[in-house]
C-alpha cells in the first residue's frame, strides 16, 4: 500500500525530498511496489510461541523506504537537537530519547492508515512524526513554551490530537493500553474501521494495566496492536529482573492472541511484521502483541549515564544501529545514492534550524493560563458519521 506524507498531514514542507514532489492521492492505491530485500543482521531466534518475520522481503517501494529513512533520521535529529538544548538548559525538566529504537516507532506507525490511532509513549517520537507532528511541537513542549501543543501545561511528548489520531499517555506505565483498547472499541462501535496502536516497554509489561488491557481487548476482539519494546532495560532494571521469560511475546499466549518477535533494529522487519498485525486487526482478527527486540542506546533519561549497562552490550548493539543499517540497505540496493541521503539529511538540518528557532523565540505561557481548562465545556466531536449501532 502506498503512503504519502499528506496522508498524515506530515512534516514541515521544506524537508520533502525532491522525489516526493508528486504525491499520490491518499485514496488511490498504487500498484504494489517491488519488494526490496534488506540484509538480515538481527539475531532474533524463533521460539515455540512466536512467528519470526522474514527480514528479506518488504512490500514497500523506493519512495516509502526513503520516507522511512527520513522519519528515522528526523527522529534522531530532533532528539539530538533536544540533547543540545538540554545541555544549554533550555529544556525544562527531564529529557527522554529513543536513540537506537527509531526503527520501532517509525516502522510500526508507518503500517497505519490515516483513520488509525496511536497512543505513543515517551520513546515513540518517531511514531508521532509519522502521524504528522511537527518538530516545533516537540521543541516547544520540552521548552515549556506557550506555543506548545499543551500551551505549557504538560511536558515532553505528553500531548495528543484526535484529528491526527493521537492520544497522549499519562506517566503511569500500562495505563494507556486499556485506553487504546477503548479507542479501538469506539472505532468498532462507530464503524470507523480503524486500528489502534500503542507501545509498551519491557518494564511496562509488568503492570496490571498491561494485563487488564490486553485481556479485555482479546475478549472483546478489538483491533488493537500492542508493540512491546524489548530494549534491555527499564530504567536501571534489566529485563531479567522484570520477568522470568526471554520473550515478551510469550505473554500473548495467556491472552489467546498472536504474539510475534521482530528485529526492532530493522525498520523493514518492523514494518512488515507490524503490518501483518494491523491487517489482522482491521480484518476483525483482534489484537496482537508484537515484540520488537532492540536496545536503549542512552540512559533512561538525559541525566542518567546508564553506568549499569555493560559497555560490551552497548558496543554490540551499536553495530546494529537501525539508521546505519538502513542506509547500507538503501545504498546496497540502489534505492538511494549517498547524495540522496545527504540531501535528506540537509533538508532535515535546515528545517530543524527553523523549528528550534521558532521554539526559542516563543514566549513562556501567560501565568493565568494555569487556571484554565480543568473542565471541558463541550464534548469531543465524533469524527465520522455513525453507522446504526442497533
Amino acid at each position: 500500500m502506498s503512503r504519502s506524507p499528506q496522508d498524515f498531514g506530515l512534516l514541515h514542507p521544506t524537508v520533502e525530498p525532491a522525489a516526493e514532489a508528486e504525491k499520490s492521492v491518499p485514496s488511490a492505491p498504487e500498484p504494489a511496489p517491488e519488494p526490496v530485500a534488506m540484509k538480515a543482521t538481527g539475531e532474533v531466534k524463533p521460539e515455540a510461541s512466536d512467528e519470526v518475520q522474514s527480514l528479506a522481503e518488504t512490500s514497500l517501494g523506493q519512495r516509502e523506504q526513503l520516507l522511512l529513512y527520513r522519519f528515522m533520521l528526523l527522529n534522531r535529529s530532533v532528539e539530538d537537537r533536544l540533547s543540545s538544548l538540554y545541555r544549554q538548559n533550555k529544556v525544562v525538566g527531564g529529557l527522554y530519547g529513543s536513540r537506537g529504537q527509531e526503527a520501532v516507532s517509525v516502522g510500526s506507525a508507518f503500517a497505519l492508515e490515516p483513520q488509525d490511532f496511536i497512543g505513543p509513549l515517551i520513546r515513540n517520537l518517531g511514531a508521532m512524526l509519522v502521524r504528522g507532528v511537527e518538530p516545533r511541537e516537540v521543541f516547544t513542549q520540552y521548552m515549556a513554551r506557550g506555543t506548545s501543543p499543551t500551551g505549557g501545561k504538560d511536558c515532553n511528548l505528553h500531548f495528543g490530537d484526535v484529528r491526527r489520531g493521537m492520544i497522549a499517555p499519562i506517566s503511569m506505565l500500562g495505563a494507556l493500553i486499556p485506553v487504546m483498547a477503548g479507542v479501538a472499541l469506539a472505532g468498532q462501535q462507530q464503524g470507523r474501521n480503524l486500528v489502534a496502536m500503542t507501545w509498551i516497554g519491557d518494564g511496562g509489561t509488568s503492570t496490571g494495566d498491561f494485563h487488564e488491557g490486553l485481556n479485555l481487548a482479546a475478549v472483546l476482539n478489538l483491533p488493537l496492536v500492542v508493540i512491546a519494546e524489548h530494549n534491555g532495560y527499564a530504567y536501571s532494571t534489566p529485563t531479567s529482573m522484570q520477568m522470568r521469560i526471554e520473550n515478551i511475546a510469550d505473554r500473548a499466549v495467556g491472552y489467546g492472541i498472536p504474539g510475534s518477535i521482530l528485529d526492532g533494529n530493522d525498520v523493514l522487519a518492523v514494518h512488515g511484521g507490524v503490518k501483518r498485525a494491523v491487517d489482522r486487526a482491521r480484518a476483525g482478527g483482534g489484537p496482537s502483541l508484537v515484540e520488537v527486540k532492540t536496545f536503549r542506546m542512552k540512559g533512561h533519561a538525559e541525566h542518567d549515564d546508564a553506568g549499569y549497562v555493560p559497555a560490551e552490550l552497548l558496543a554490540e548493539w551499536a553495530k546494529r544501529d537501525p539508521i546505519e543499517r538502513f542506509e547500507d540497505h538503501l545504498l546496497a540496493n540502489d534505492l538511494a545514492s549517498p547524495d540522496d541521503l545527504a540531501a535528506i539529511a540537509a533538508t532535515i538540518r535546515e528545517s530543524l534550524d527553523i523549528e528550534v528557532d521558532f521554539a526559542l523565540a516563543s514566549e513562556m505561557p501567560p501565568a493565568e493560563r494555569s487556571l484554565e481548562g480543568v473542565y471541558a465545556e463541550a464534548p469531543p466531536e465524533v469524527a465520522v458519521p455513525w453507522r446504526a449501532v442497533r
Binding site: 499519562i170 479485555l216 469524527a383
Partner: protein, 342 residues
C-alpha cells in the same frame, strides 16, 4: 404495579411520565432514555448484560441495545475504566458500572490521573460516567458499604454526583451522561428499592453543580446528601414538632463542584450549620463543606460549623456495630439541639 414489575426483569421500555418508580428504576429509566436518544451512549461493566447487573439495574438492556452497547467485561476495573476513557475521547459516552462502588479503588489511577487530568493537560474531553451502588446500612461490611466520595473530592477535573431522591436520580443520571467531563455517580444502595417518586414530564434534567433546599428553615442548616437526607428530614420534622426548631435541609446532590452559593445563602440565613454525611469523618466531603462555610460565613455564624459523620473506622459488619457507627435520627436530633442552643 405492572410497570414496576417489568423493572426487575426482561426487556425495558421507557415508562410513562407520572409513573411511580423506585430510585433504582429512576436511574434505569434515565439511562434508557439517554441510550435511546444518543447512539454514543453505551454501558460497560461486569455482569451487566446477561445478568442485568448485581442489582438488576440494567436488566433487559442487553436485549434492547445489543452486545455492542451493553458490554460484559472480565473482572478488570482499571481495564474497563481505561477502555471507557479511550472510547470517550473518541466521542462515545460510556457509562461504566462498578458492581459495588468499593471496587472503584482498583481503577483509582485511571480515574484521577487519566480521566480527570486529560482535558486540562491537552484539551481532550473525556465524557463518561462511572456509576454504582455505594453506602451502607445493609450490613455489607467493609468492602460493600463504602462511601468513596472523599477519595475523589481531591481530584481536579472530576465531577461527583450523589442523588438522594428519585427525581434527582433520574435527572442527574441524564445530566451526568450529557456532561462533557468524567462524572462519578454514586448511587445509594440503601435507597434503591426503599424510596419512591414520580417520573417527570419532559426531560427532567437536574443540573450538575446545584444543591437543593429541600426544606426551608430559620434556625439551623443541615447540609447533607444521599441516604442521610432522609435522616435529616426525619430529624427536622421531629424537632419542629417536639422542639419548635426549624431546620433548613440542604441536599448537596453534586459534591464536586460544590454549590457554594446555595450553601452560603442558607448559612447566612440560619447562622448555624451542621454537615451530616455517611462518610468516615476525616478527609470527608463534610470536612470540605465545613471548611468552606467556616471561611465564607464567618461573620454570620452563631455557633461552630459541626460535622456529624461516621467515625474513622472501616464500615463494620454486625448490625449493632454498624448501627452504632452510622449517624441516626436520635443522635442527630441531640446534636442539632445542642448546636441550636449554642
Amino acid at each position: 404495579m405492572s410497570a414496576k414489575q417489568s423493572a426487575t426483569k426482561g426487556p425495558q421500555e421507557p415508562l410513562a411520565a407520572g409513573t411511580e418508580v423506585t430510585y433504582l428504576e429512576a436511574i434505569r429509566q434515565g439511562i434508557l432514555r439517554e441510550m435511546d436518544g444518543s447512539p454514543e451512549v453505551f454501558l460497560i461493566g461486569e455482569d451487566i448484560g446477561t445478568y442485568g447487573g448485581a442489582f438488576r439495574l440494567t436488566a433487559g438492556f442487553l436485549e434492547r441495545y445489543g452486545a455492542e452497547r451493553v458490554i460484559d467485561t472480565p473482572i478488570s476495573e482499571s481495564g474497563f475504566v481505561g477502555c471507557a476513557i479511550g472510547a470517550a475521547m473518541m466521542g462515545m459516552r460510556p457509562v461504566v458500572e462498578m458492581q459495588f462502588i468499593d471496587f472503584i479503588a482498583c481503577a483509582f489511577n485511571q480515574i484521577v490521573n487519566f480521566a480527570a487530568k486529560n482535558h486540562y493537560r491537552w484539551g481532550q474531553a473525556v465524557p463518561m460516567v462511572i456509576r454504582g451502588p455505594s453506602g451502607g446500612n445493609v450490613h455489607g461490611s467493609a468492602f460493600h458499604s463504602q462511601n468513596p466520595e472523599g477519595y475523589f473530592l481531591h481530584a481536579p477535573g472530576i465531577k461527583i454526583v450523589a442523588p438522594a431522591t428519585v427525581e434527582d436520580a433520574f435527572g442527574l443520571i441524564r445530566s451526568a451522561i450529557r456532561d462533557p467531563n468524567p462524572v462519578l455517580f454514586f448511587e445509594h444502595k440503601y435507597l434503591y428499592r426503599r424510596i419512591k417518586g414520580t417520573l417527570p414530564e419532559g426531560e427532567g434534567l437536574v443540573p450538575i453543580g446545584r444543591a437543593r433546599v429541600v426544606r426551608e428553615g430559620t434556625d439551623l442548616s443541615v447540609i447533607t446528601y444521599a441516604a442521610m437526607l432522609h435522616t435529616a428530614l426525619e430529624a427536622a420534622e421531629r424537632l419542629a414538632a417536639e422542639e419548635g426548631i426549624e431546620i433548613e435541609v440542604i441536599d448537596l446532590r453534586t459534591l464536586k463542584p460544590l454549590d457554594d452559593e446555595t450553601l452560603v445563602a442558607s448559612v447566612k440565613k440560619t447562622g448555624r450549620a451542621l454537615v451530616l454525611t455517611e462518610e468516615q469523618k476525616t478527609g470527608s466531603v463534610a470536612g470540605e463543606v465545613a471548611a468552606r462555610i467556616a471561611e465564607n460565613c464567618f461573620a454570620w455564624l452563631d455557633g461552630p460549623v459541626q460535622r456529624f459523620c461516621c467515625p474513622d473506622t472501616p464500615v463494620p459488619y454486625s448490625p449493632p456495630l454498624e448501627e452504632h457507627y452510622r449517624p441516626n435520627v436520635e443522635r442527630l436530633c441531640e446534636r442539632i439541639k445542642r448546636l441550636a442552643n449554642y
